[in-house]
Each structure stands twice: as C-alpha cells, then as structure tokens.
Symmetry: C2
Subunit: 549 residues, 2 copies
Amino acid sequence: MLGMMMNAPLLVSSILRHAETYHGGTEVVSKTVEGPIHRYTYGDLAKRSRKLANALKKLGLEHGDRVGTLAWNGYRHMELYYGVSGSGFVCHTINPRLFREQIGYIIEHAGDSVLFSDLTFLPILEALADRLAPLKAVVILTDESHMPKSDVLPNLVCYETLIAGESDEFEWPVFDENTASGLCYTSGTTGDPKGVLYSHRSSVLHAMAISFMDVLSLSANDAVVPVVPMFHVNAWGLPFAAPMVGAKLVMPGPNLDGASLHSLFESEGVTVTAGVPTVWLGLLDWMDAHGQKFTSLKRVAIGGSATPPIMISRFHNMGVTVRHAWGMTETSPIGLAATLLPKHEALSAEQKLMLECKQGRPLFGMEFRIDGSDGKPVARDGKAFGAMMVRGPWVAAGYYNTEKSPAHAVEGWFDTGDVVTMDEDGFVQIVDRTKDVVKSGGEWISSIELENIAQAHPAIKEAAVVGAPDARWGERPVLVVVVKPGQTFTRHDMLDVYTGKISKWSIPDDVIIVEELPHTATGKLLKTAIRQIVLDEYAKRSPDSTLAG
Amino acid sequence: MLGMMMNAPLLVSSILRHAETYHGGTEVVSKTVEGPIHRYTYGDLAKRSRKLANALKKLGLEHGDRVGTLAWNGYRHMELYYGVSGSGFVCHTINPRLFREQIGYIIEHAGDSVLFSDLTFLPILEALADRLAPLKAVVILTDESHMPKSDVLPNLVCYETLIAGESDEFEWPVFDENTASGLCYTSGTTGDPKGVLYSHRSSVLHAMAISFMDVLSLSANDAVVPVVPMFHVNAWGLPFAAPMVGAKLVMPGPNLDGASLHSLFESEGVTVTAGVPTVWLGLLDWMDAHGQKFTSLKRVAIGGSATPPIMISRFHNMGVTVRHAWGMTETSPIGLAATLLPKHEALSAEQKLMLECKQGRPLFGMEFRIDGSDGKPVARDGKAFGAMMVRGPWVAAGYYNTEKSPAHAVEGWFDTGDVVTMDEDGFVQIVDRTKDVVKSGGEWISSIELENIAQAHPAIKEAAVVGAPDARWGERPVLVVVVKPGQTFTRHDMLDVYTGKISKWSIPDDVIIVEELPHTATGKLLKTAIRQIVLDEYAKRSPDSTLAG
Ligand SMILES: Nc1ncnc2c1ncn2[C@@H]1O[C@H](COP(=O)(O)OP(=O)(O)OP(=O)(O)O)[C@@H](O)[C@H]1O
Ligand SMILES: Nc1ncnc2c1ncn2[C@@H]1O[C@H](COP(=O)(O)OP(=O)(O)OP(=O)(O)O)[C@@H](O)[C@H]1O
Ligand SMILES: [Mg+2]
Ligand SMILES: [Mg+2]
C-alpha cells in the first residue's frame, strides 16, 4: 500500500524558487573576473536564471543536452547552474586546471552542445578551437565592453547580450526527480577523468544532508564562501545548500590567494567557508605574515585531501571550528564529516585533534562497507584497514558514456578506491588509495604513512612512496624524494627515519632522489608517473633487472 | 535523460540502521508507565525492533496492514515505530486522549489488525471490547510481572513474551519509498478526525528538514526529549530525526507535569525539547514556584497552538532559545519555524519577540500560497490575510479511506483551514481558522484577535468569540466568557475593552457569560459547541429570533 502524500519531486529549480520567495533580498556577492565586486540578490539570480532559460531554449537545446561551463565561482556561473539544470539540460562543469588535452577529451566525451566560458580562459578555447567547431555556441561570460576578439574563434557569443532581450518569466518544467541535472568528471588522479551524472534528486538530497548541524551547519544567518571551485564537484554542493537555507552567498572569483580571501572574508562578514588544504595553507601563512585575524569566520570545511593536524590547530587558535570532510566526485561529494561526539568530550586536546584529522563519520543517507585484503569486512577498531565501498542516494551508479566500471563491480556498491580504517563510531581514516597501497607478500603497506614519516625529515622537501615489482614479495616499497637545496638524504638516513616507527618489513627497500615529483593538474601526486621513475631508475642501475638489489 | 545515481530508497529502516551502525552506543532513556527509568541504546532498539518484526510476521500480518498503538512516549513505542513501518506495515498511532467513541471510530475506520497498548489504557480497551473482538491480537506493552487481568478481554498478549523467543536477526525489506509507513488522525477540532497516511519518503524527508539549523538544529551532541506525544503527528518527527543525527533520545512517559519534566531534563542533561504551550506553562510555573533553573536545556520548540509572547520571554530569561513552529497532522507536521534572519538583528527586543510569536517562515521543501476572500493571492505585507494552502513532499494528498476531501479541492494544493498573513520574508501569522473567522458583510474578522484582547481583562478566565448568524451582515461576532470567581463582566466592560483597539465594526455585538467553555479532547476550544451555546442563549432571550438584538 502506498502512502497518501503529495508527489512533489525534488528538483534543483525548487531550491531557487525557495530562495527567491523567502530570501529574495539576501545577497549574492561575487568577485568578478573583470575586476570589480558584483552584488545582487537571490531575487535577481532567479530572474536572470529565467532569462537564461529562455535564451537556452532559443539555442535549440533539447531535454538532456549537455551544456559545458569553464568558469570560476561567480554569479553568472550560478545562473548557469539553475538556468541549465532547471530547464532539464545538464550543467557540465569543466575543470580549467586540467591539461588542455584532458579538457578537449572531456568536452568531446560529454558531447557538450554549448560551452560557457569565463573571459580568462580564451587561450584554452583557442587551443581547442577544432574541437569546439561542432558546438551550437561558445558563450563568453561577460558583457559587450569586455568581449575579447579572437581570430581563431570569430563567433564567440556575449553572455549579457545573449540574455539581454529575454523575458524574466519562465515556468520551470516539472519532471522526474531522477532526471540528470549535472555532469562532473573526476580529477584524473588514477587514470582518465570519468564522468559522474548527477540527478536532481541526488543534488537536492546531498544539499540537505550537508546543511545538517554535524556537517556544515548552514543557516540563513550565515554568509557562505565556497572557495572550492564550482567545477570541482559542484563546489561541494554549496551553490545548492546556501540558497536552500537562505544564507548569503559570497563568490571568490579567480583569486584564491591569502590576501584576496582574507579581505573578502572580512569585508563580507563571512561565517562559513569550504576548500582544500592547499588554499588554507596559503591563507593562514599570509595571515601570520601580516598579523591578521578573522573577525567573523566561524567554521571552515576542509577536504579533497588529508588535512594535517597543524592546520586544524592553526584554525582553532584563530577561533575557527574545523570540519574535516571526505568526498569524491562520485559521492556528490560529501560522505563523511569529522564532527566529534559527546563521548569525545573527555579526551585530551591532542586526542581530539587526532580524531578531527580523520576523514570523518558517515552522513545520514550514506552506507559504508570496508573489505580487507581477504574480501571480508574488517574489524571496526580504527586499526584494521580495507577497501571502502559506499552506497546511497547521492552515490554514482556508473560513469557517463562508459560501458564498464570496475569500481561498480560489486553489485549495489561503489568501490571508492580508498583504503581506510573505521572505528566503532564510524570515524574513517584514509590509509591509502587501493592503487597506491604497496601489496607486499599478501600484506598491505600504506604508502601515505611512509610518506608522512619521510616528510617530517628536515632535509626532505617532498616525498612519495610507490610499490616496485619484486619477484619474491610481489611488490616492495620504494621512497622517492626531492631534497631541500643544499641538503642530502641517504639510504642510511632513510633507515634511521623509519626504524622503530613502523614494522621492519614495511621499511622501503630503497630511496631515489629526484629533482621534482610529478603532479596531477589538481596538485595530487601522480603515482603512475612516479612508479615509472622507479622502473627507469632500476633499469639504469642494472639493465637486466627491474628489482631492487 | 536520467542521472546515473544509485537508486537508494528513503526508508524508515535506513534511519534505524544508521543509528545502530554509527551511534549504536548512544542512549535511549525512557520514563516507563510501570514506574522506573529504563535505559538502553540505539543498538538495543535496533535489535529489539528486529525481534518485533519477526513476531509481527508470525501474527500473520500482510504488507500494508495497519497496526494500532495506544501508548505514551517510550522505548517500546519506538520499537513499534521501526518494527512495524520497517516491515512494510503501517504504524497507526492513536491518541488516547480522544473520547472513547472517537478512539473506537478511528480503530474501525483504519481497519487495524493488531493493537498495542500501554498498561494504563486498560479501561479504554475494556470499554471498546466489542470493537476489538475482530482484531488478530491486543498486545499490552509490558512484561509478564505487570500483565493486567481482564475478564472482558481474556486474551490480552504480553509484549515481552511476544518478542522474547524471536531472533534479533531480520533483513529489513527494501521497497518503494512511497509505501505507507504511518497513519495518524487529526485532532478532531473542526469535525471527525481524518486519517493521514504517511509514506517512508515523507517521513525521512520531513525528519531531514526539521534537523536543519534554522528549524530544530539537531546534532549528535544533543539530548532530545519529545514532550509532544508520539500519538500526536509522530511527536513532530523527533523519533525519526533524533536517531538520524545520532542524538541521545529521552522519552518522558505519561507524566508531563512541571516537576516530572524538570527532573528528567536535569538528570539526563537534555538540550532540546518540543511540545505544546500548555505543557510549557505547567513547567515554567512549577519552576518559578520552586525557584528552579535549567542547567543543560538550550532550545525548545513550541507549536500546535499559538505561543504567547510572555512564554517566549520566560524561556529567554532562563537562557533557552525558543523555536515557535507551525504544523498540522496533514503536514507531517512541521512547515514553518520562526527563526529570525540577519536583517532582524537591528530590531528592538520587543519587535524581535513579536516576530518569534509568529508561526514562522517556510522550511525548504514546503510551498505556500495565501488566497484572500476574493480568491486572489494576498499582498505579502504581514497585514493582508487569506486562506493558507500548502504543498510539498510531506503534505497529505488526501485522507485515508475517505472519498472526497474539500481541503484538497484546489488541484495540487492542500487547504490548511488556517487564515494567515505573510510578510516579505515568509513569516506567517495565524489570524484564525477558516471555519472560525467571522464573515461580516464580506469582511473577515479574526475571532482569535478578539479573544486575545478579552483574555487580557483581569476579570476574565477564558474567552471565546464566534460568529452568530445575522440577517443583515451574514455573521456578527459574539463574545462568550468564563468569569473569574467573585468577578463580573458586563456588555459595558466589553465595549471598554475593545474600543480604540480594533475597528468599530469588529467589536462583538454581545457578551454571554458561561460557567465553562467546551474543549476538544486535545484542549482546543470547541467552536461548533460554542456557536450552539450562542444560538441557545439567543433562542432563550427572544424565542422567535436567533439574531442579536
Ligand atoms: N578529507 C580527505 N582526506 C584525504 N583524502 C581525501 C579527502 N577527501 C577526498 N580525498 C581523496 O580524494 C579522492 C576524490 O577526489 P576526486 O573525486 O576529486 O578525484 P580523484 O579520485 O583524485 O581522481 P580520479 O578518480 O580521476 O583518479 C578520494 O577518493 C580521496 O582519496
Ligand atoms: N504554532 C501554532 N500557532 C497557532 N496554531 C497552530 C500552531 N501550530 C498548529 N496550530 C493549529 O493546529 C492545527 C493543526 O492541528 P491538528 O492537525 O492537530 O488538528 P486540528 O486541525 O486541530 O483538528 P481537525 O483537523 O481534526 O479539526 C493547525 O491547522 C493550526 O490551526
Ligand atoms: Mg577517484
Ligand atoms: Mg486540521
């Protein structure tokens, strides 16, 4: 028997309607690519999103068509989020930091019909001119006075001109809440970027879940800055969650350096923000160097890669609460947030800090399963580790335009590719990535643990650990390091660093010194390339062997 | 084109699974009908709910069958919520405060197969013995040592015995999230109680929505007491929301007097509670009389009927934040919560208080429409009033086992029967009920406004205003009052009270003194009966006229 409740689909347009109707005067403030600060309200955002919807219709788009965006966080990008998805098209946010080749691949793979781009990405567009030729339009997110001239792309459309003549009346269509709303490709750390096709339902439920007290604690009394870009898993859902709760939304534009962020936070009375550790390092260092404080900031969400304890302490010392969170493109992204429990009150400050450094505990809606190397669930003791699998209403069931996904091999589950421990309260700690863990004689050795230990050595600038093929053990760990100018680091130093800290058989067999370590476009260590460095080095040392001596 | 996200239905059982898996050690504390305090954990709740699920299966229940409950807030009632709904049956909570005739009507109308009842309701059960005869079982929520003996009902089943032998393993079935999960009848203020059939989807979405910062702000760091009964619109969703966020749950049992509540709040470190104004009046008065304070309480949600400003002030003075909320059985219940906005910071304390006395602003997910007496939307100025219609995923689309619902006459909307104003930020203020508003010469006069003014007079104990039929105006307001012992109140006093406070044509034509005013089973003024009092009085005064002289 079915219940007798209204059939009201969860649609992205319902978020905008709510914000316009009950928070219509609340501000959306954007640092623009053109320079000045732009201010308007949710009421204006809603009106201009409807103008855009009318313009999109005229471009001849059809239900389900993909619309690409190459843009920083700003009000026009917000209009695209709502105008595109609200109309039943798919808002495909593209990461401009990817290599050009990857961007071209993604636009083609997604089959984008139209591309909207910030002014500043003209060089990318020109480099990809061939691939953009089949598109219905390439639109520059600016006004006539800022329109660039391009010989390579003579037909660029001006965004403001595109929507200028349109009516601001438009009835958002009502459709199945499982309709696709957005498309975002993964960062490409472990291979080619893969497309995740979000639905209206998943976007709305995720936005609700992250607004909870124990996740981001969002309220109409907040001023929220998504520092994490809108091309990076929908800025972690904040472009949906902020209007949902009626919070003031502040968009940082392209400049994410310490000085720019601090001045924006202070001038706009920002209370909540979210971003990756690298950005916060820049901000905190700048503030220390300039003796600055936060006068309004209350909470910062940190995720995307592990947050070092010292970063959490530095925020604490500035009176700011940290919410370390974990997520993936495939999980919309947030699945875990490290909010402490009443039972943790009795812990020492240091113990609390160690817990806050974990990736967090499960949001309601997300289910987790952690399978050890034997395929059986591991003990929930915070020590045993295994492959983390997840499921839930905002988890990808497959990849766009991709036949087979090994990550979806286990029926009903998505394999995150993260190797983790979980404690009895559900606090997860990432130990490594499945692809990076060194599988030595049936045991798993965490490359990240070995990297962190090496990283603490004063001579080392950056450290990576990868598995090198080994005839006897399958794989053995090898340390690859960049040494600080004027310093040295020997195999002997390496043994000193590790002895007593980890079990003997986990100590790397060798250390290789390099000038530089390869990184992905988003700044993560590129382990595939580092593995190649090791293979090349071994080949050099002993031409007929790839094994450590 | 559909998104490629997992199809994970929103089920009530997923809340219990989350609480067991990640908050398994968090306490559920209950004051019992038998006397002592009972303590266990979400882990225990989950286990015993599964035992119950196995027992229900043996009773021969089929998918969609209704299971009645007559019970106070306690752990066994929680097991019913999850054991019954989780299994795909419908948990039908019955209000034991209703008149027996109404209870019998509801059990029959719902077609309950089994009834679970607290020990203390034996007299009700015995009085309804005939109507209970066709049921599969009548189960008493107690253990063997407390089982009552009844000559009228010789086959009563003991709850603890029923589940004792069952396994605590049970796989919660997975089904369409629109499946019916619960059934609750309205309070019967304006006619016969009507059944609202909740779905799993509506229950989960409502629980998510009320956990938001600007609604009840629920966290794993809270200890929550639903003082509002579980038979009253699912205790406003707290039995779902508390385990969803992992909050400690404290259940007050049958004693809702000031002394009992205060001692429970203090001994259990309660931080959040929710209930109707009457209960808080009792608590605040008792605390004043005994010079008591709150040492842990942070937030109180008040709703169900209007909250007087003085009550909000009294809580503020005790350091407790008030969340005035509005809801109905048909809206799961919460649709509005009066959390202030940043723009209100500049207001005076008194202006803020007046806003907090309003019924609140819309939760995300709920849509509102307010139609004036001419059927057109009224101005959003906080002054113009009209009939409030709502829609959303947790709003009833009709009534159980009822052909035609006038409240659903407007396609896609539910007419709340409340007459309200709304301001530009969405703050709603209830002016009256559609049925109680006095329709005089095409204008609407709020009976509640007139009652509040009269209520402030020192001689008046309780006041009601109803419309009396009038040949010229259609209806004219009449005041009906109970006078305090030893006091008097004349027509002259009435004119004094109103003159200058309201427009002249709104002043009641007459005042009638009565010994007592009739109330519904849940303590609301019974306007239909009061209208009859007026008619009878007029008939007495002038046998051939029902009109005011
Ligand atoms: N708080 C965190 N701490 C540590 N690692 C994190 C955290 N949050 C996210 N991550 C890492 O980031 C990954 C998700 O990143 P993202 O979806 O951007 O792409 P990617 O996995 O790096 O790229 P690809 O899937 O294309 O190889 C997670 O699997 C996890 O390994
Ligand atoms: N905060 C509040 N302030 C004033 N009135 C409220 C508030 N919350 C709820 N109400 C009133 O309670 C009504 C809902 O109550 P409920 O669903 O328990 O049954 P009822 O409407 O009293 O009974 P019936 O529908 O059977 O006549 C609302 O329509 C509204 O009039
Ligand atoms: Mg990945
Ligand atoms: Mg009603």
